[in-house]
């Protein structure tokens, strides 16, 4: 087994052992096994990253075994590790390992730990399959695999109705995205006759494909636009982008380590990864890039507005994730893929940190997630407070922390793209940056500052055990330094051939030469946000309530996340149920069975009744019929 394969398989082995034999080997053994698997994977991932990304080793390509062969259709399982994948590998394996360790403490009292660790490791396996695949079908394999893991983990506390519903919702909304994604894959096969990245990109790069495709009601459309837009629908589902975002906030029903790993650091970034991976295709369609930019920019602002008013600590961070993913997408949309990948990486660190610190707060507060019941906690849990502050500063773009480099790179690239959508994205991104700073500090102020609002919980709050603190410290280190260390990513073509740019798509190159005010404006946004949060949540604490009561419409609108859930319920869920009921009761029972099947039976019955009536048994009836018959025959033939 090659080293690269072991990176992927080690978590699977851990998962299988913990899942299948968890009840025999006990929970301690189960979690040790999964952590061992993860550690092996992470160490190897770091070695590979060092060789490929820090050193200058060539990309790795391996074919493992052939998967599906039907006619000309051939797909195998394979491994492709270039600099994009290598970056993803350390993010996935590294953060997953930390979160496994964190879960030792966080899930300590849970009786189903073996199951939990098994799922976590299974998730990591699927995610690694996703990022290391060398063809679109393997990408899809991982894509759906992480969807299953996400479903299982959101619904981990299956006794809770809300958790089960959230899990279902996540799976189904993702399926809507996958529906588009699958069609995209079909279209790729139809056009290129293969699903192998290298072959597809090679043909796309040399324009060896039919320029137009007849796509149903859209008629003759640009081939690449159709393909990339279909793929992007998948990305919208997985990365919770505007319109398909509704599952992500609900996914917070899952245990907090899950939120950190799956719904912040790794799985939700799969869409961004996919767009960057398929840059050779996206680059060929201005339409698709525009769509990506618009959706990303809209999400960035939309989610930030909703995040302003949420009271559940995890929901705030969830909307923040949604918003940050929007940044990554519009970066990709303006062809600044390297900035998108860079932000993906830094975001993974500080967002995991934020979630895990929020988890530490929740842990300290005995599973209380409502920020309105917190306050003044910094005295009780100073370490958590410190790391949470680091995470917040990194997210909001405080100079020289992680987000400062990556988010600014995105905004500068959007500004430097010199296109109208690029400018739109820049304006949206800049506005969202103010909001980000505001809601992040609102969270910190509500949780850690001011007076305790629930004295009992406050009195019992205590710092988390080492297993929780250790990952927090490591991630805090990452949140501080990931930006500085990763900065070379956005210079030159660090990603080598993995990212292809069309001629003229030079937003990233120009980004380094934007005016000074553009570079420092995000910091201004940061300051405005902090100031506002300070005024509302520290200085004049009565003000938020007054504002909410004055602008009750806007407040409700934001609190209910623009009423998307209600809208979708009215638009899809209820009609589907009503139609299903109608088809069943009216279609099947009344029409097909009633008039059709049983109708025919009844008609036969009636006819039989009638014939039965003729057969009276009286001789003179029959004699009469014979005479009539005879007369008819004689008349006809005479």
């Amino acid at each position: 087994m090659s080293r690269e394969l072991l990176i992927i398989v080690a978590p699977l082995i851990g998962s299988m052992i913990a899942g299948l034999f968890g009840r025999y080997i006990g929970k301690v053994m189960a979690r040790n096994v999964t952590i061992l698997g993860m550690t092996v994977s992470a160490v190897l991932a770091i070695i590979v990253f060092m060789e490929i990304a820090v050193g200058d080793a060539p990309e790795i390509r391996q074919e493992i075994f052939s998967w599906i062969v039907a006619g000309d259709f051939k797909v195998h399982f394979g491994i492709l590790i270039d600099r994009i994948t290598a970056t993803m590998l350390i993010v996935v394996s590294g953060i997953s390992t930390l979160i496994h360790i964190y879960s030792i403490g966080y899930m300590e009292e849970d009786p189903h730990q073996a199951r939990f660790f098994s799922y976590l490791s299974f998730f990591t396996f699927a995610m690694l399959m996703l990022v290391t695949g060398d063809n679109f079908l393997q990408l899809f394999f991982g894509w759906e695999g992480v969807g299953l893991a996400s479903y299982l983990l959101i619904g981990f506390w299956y006794q809770k109705e809300s958790a089960c519903n959230a899990a279902m919702k996540a799976f189904l909304v993702n399926r809507v995205g996958d529906f588009g994604f699958a069609l995209g894959i079909f279209a790729i096969y139809m056009i290129f006759g293969t699903l192998d990245y290298a072959e597809v990109f090679q043909m796309a790069g040399t324009a060896q494909y039919p320029k137009t495709i007849d796509f149903i009601i859209f008629g003759a459309s640009d081939t690449i636009t159709v393909i990339t837009l279909l793929l992007f629908i998948g990305a919208m589902g997985k990365s919770a982008q505007f319109l398909l975002h509704t599952w992500l906030p609900d996914a917070m029903e899952g245990p907090t380590p899950v939120s950190a790993l799956i719904h912040a650091a790794t799985m939700v970034t799969a869409g961004v990864f996919m767009v960057c991976r398929t840059s050779p295709l996206f680059e060929l369609s201005e339409t698709s890039l525009t769509v990506v930019t618009l959706v990303g920019a809209t999400t960035a602002l939309f989610a930030a507005t909703v995040g302003l008013v949420q009271n559940d600590i995890k929901r705030v961070i969830a909307y923040s994730t949604c918003s940050q993913l929007g940044y990554m997408f519009f970066a990709a949309g303006v062809s600044a893929y390297s900035a998108a990948m860079f932000h993906l990486m830094t975001h993974a660190f500080f967002k995991a940190l934020l979630f895990l610190s929020a988890g530490a707060v929740i842990h300290a507060m005995h599973h209380e997630q409502d920020m309105r019941k917190m306050g003044g906690l910094w005295k009780k849990i100073p370490i958590t407070y410190a790391v949470m502050m680091i995470g917040t500063l990194a997210l909001t773009g405080f100079p020289y922390l992680a987000g400062f480099f990556s988010k600014d790179a995105i905004l500068e690239a959007a500004y430097a793209s010199h296109t109208s959508v690029g400018m739109f994205a820049w304006v949206m991104g800049m506005t969202a940056a103010v909001l980000t700073s505001f809601y992040s500090f609102r969270l910190v102020f509500m949780t850690f500052h001011g007076k305790p609002r629930d004295q009992h919980a406050y009195d019992h709050a205590k710092e988390a055990p080492w297993s929780i603190r250790f990952p927090l410290l490591v991630l805090a280190f990452g949140a501080i330094f990931a930006g500085m260390l990763g900065a070379p990513m956005v210079h030159g073509d660090w990603f080598k051939e993995a990212i292809v740019l069309a001629p003229g798509h030079d937003a990233m190159a120009n980004a380094h030469h934007v005016a000074m005010w553009v570079k420092w404006l995000p910091f201004g946004a940061f300051l405005i946000g902090v100031a506002l949060a300070w005024v509302l949540y520290i200085k004049v604490t009565t003000l938020p309530k007054i504002l909410a009561e004055t602008y009750v419409g806007i407040y409700k609108f934001l609190l209910n996340a623009w009423y998307f859930d209600k809208l979708y319920d009215k638009l899809f869920v209820r009609p589907a149920k009503a139609i299903g009921m109608g088809f069943w009761q009216t279609g099947d029972v009344t029409i097909i069975d009633g008039y059709g099947v049983n109708g025919i039976v009844a008609t036969c019955g009636r006819i039989a009744q009638w014939f039965k009536g003729i057969q009276t048994g009286y001789v003179y009836h029959y004699a009469f019929a014979m005479i009539i018959g005879l007369l008819v025959l004689v008349t006809v033939y005479s």
Binding site: W67, I68, V69, A70, F73, L148, F186, M190, D588, G596
Partner: protein
């Protein structure tokens, strides 16, 4: 060899009649041993099967009724062999599943089951139309009895509905067969594949066969017998019904409609696609509203079979192979789901979804296995369902994009009803004492599922050997489907 596989179960019937007398256990063991022996024998077919040729293999011929041109002719190719294996594979599992749940007239039950197996294998092997027709009809009788005698409370209605529905379809097929004999001059199936046929005649023949096969598949709107039959049938009956009997309709399309009536088959593609699409969406939505476990899975079967018919009529390698593979997959997965329902029905004696809830707390192993089958049913990559569904949709996309788009909505709807079912039955807290008292699966039950689970992953990760069996035959079928049998002037009609 083929005859041995086909009639070994009938020999088992005799053995039960002679040996079992009134001893239920003897009947059970004889049935199990005979069905296992049949399975082992059928594996020999597999190992001796030559995948490089599309010709019929293990051919057997002997004159039977020469005056009417009727011959006893058997043989299998890469299209029928998978179904023979599926039948011999599922039957022992059904017998095991009926071990304790069937308590009345055990002997007769086992007799009916073995007879059913024999006739079904015969249907897939028969290469003479009359032989085929006789077995096709004969198989109705044991199935009718299985539903009517060992079924649920409304069994008589369901059994009659099943019987008359399918019989009505078969009558038209009989007429079509006789017309074919009169034009082609033979009842031999391989010979008729090459016989030239007028386009108009092909159209009429196609319709004759179509009704019969559409009822069996079942295609919308001929599907209403299925939910009733499933709900009332005993577990074993449901498994065979979903796993094998439904496949006979699609097999009919593959064996007769497409190769013998290629022009008409191409002509009717819009009809098939249309009905299949309506079927996929309509029954998926209906499944969403079901309150009975078995009924939900029955409707999901109709939806899944819609995918199969789309695949078959895509007329490309991916669609056809996907369609055939998906039939096998459906046999494994829907069969497995019915077996799973049987497991809980044996304990609770209800199939009403609302009566459950929180089952995972008391039956964790059962819950895991059910989840596995659920995922295979919704076509998650890594399970067999994905490979079949993906190939079908790929084939459909190559044939007609709109069809692929509409069919793909089945992916979302399928996930919706299956996950809803899972949530209602397994998740939540226990709210009834009956659920609290449930015991997890025993060793016998686990033994039933082990082979099914292996197949789910095997086909999911390495479908090569399974697709290999059918490659050559499908290629030939593809050539046949593109043949113009009716002459050039008729082709101008469409």
């Amino acid at each position: 060899m083929l005859s041995l596989v086909t009639f070994l179960p009938l020999a088992g019937v005799l053995a039960i009649i002679i040996a079992a007398r009134n001893n239920a256990n003897t009947a059970r063991y004889i049935a199990l041993i005979v069905s296992l022996a049949t399975f082992v024998l059928s594996l020999r077919l597999l190992f001796n099967f030559d995948t490089s040729t599309a010709a019929f293999q293990f051919m057997e011929e002997s004159t039977w009724l020469p005056a009417f041109g009727i011959t006893y002719r058997m043989g299998v190719d890469g299209i029928s062999l998978p179904f023979v294996l599926l039948t011999t594979f599922l039957t022992p599992l059904c017998i095991l599943a009926s071990w304790e749940s069937v308590q009345k007239m055990v002997k007769e039950y086992m007799i009916a089951f073995l007879a059913l197996e024999s006739f079904v294998i015969g249907v897939f092997c028969a290469l003479d139309f009359i032989l085929f027709y006789i077995l096709w009809e004969a198989m109705l009788i044991p199935m009718f009895l299985l539903i009517g005698v060992w079924g649920g409370p409304n069994r008589v209605y369901a059994a009659l509905k099943f019987f008359l529905y399918t019989l009505a379809g078969s009558v038209l097929m009989l007429i079509a067969i006789i017309v074919l004999k009169n034009t082609g001059g033979t009842f031999s199936i391989p010979d008729l594949m090459n016989a030239p046929l007028d386009f108009n005649l092909q159209v009429w023949l196609f319709l004759g066969f179509f009704i019969s096969f559409a009822v069996k598949v079942p295609m919308w709107p001929f599907h209403t017998w299925l939910p009733d039959a499933h709900v009332e049938a005993p577990t074993g009956g449901s498994v065979i019904l979903a796993g094998i009997l439904l496949k006979m309709g699609a097999y009919g399309f593959l064996r007769f409609s497409i190769p013998m009536l290629p022009d008409a088959s191409r002509y009717f593609v819009p009809l098939i696609f249309g009905l299949s699409l309506v079927g996929i969406v309509y029954t998926a939505l209906v499944a969403l509203m079901q309150k009975d476990l078995k009924k939900l899975i029955a409707y999901s079967s109709v939806s899944h079979m819609g995918f199969v018919t789309i695949g078959l009529f895509s007329f490309n390698q991916q669609g056809l192979e996907g369609g055939i593979l998906q039939m096998i997959n459906h046999g494994i997965v829907a069969g497995g789901l019915f077996l799973l329902v049987g497991v809980i029905y044996d304990r609770m004696h209800t199939r009403e979804i609302a009566k459950f809830g929180g089952v995972v707390n008391v039956m964790p192993v059962y819950a895991v296995i059910f989840m596995l089958f659920t995922m295979a049913a919704v076509g998650l990559p890594g399970t067999n369902g994905f490979v079949g569904e993906f190939l079908i949709l790929l084939g459909a996309f190559l044939a007609n994009k709109a069809v692929a788009v509409v069919a793909s909505t089945g992916l979302v709807l399928g996930a919706a009803y299956m996950l809803w079912l899972y949530k209602k039955v397994f998740f939540g807290i226990i709210h009834s004492e009956e659920v609290q008292a449930l015991k997890d699966m025993n060793k016998r039950e686990l033994a039933i599922f082990a082979p099914l689970i292996i197949l789910i992953f095997w086909i999911g990760f390495y479908p090569g050997p399974f697709l290999e069996i059918m490659h050559t035959s499908v290629e030939q079928l593809l050539t046949q489907s593109h043949t113009i049998k009716a002459g050039t002037n008729a082709v101008a009609m469409y």
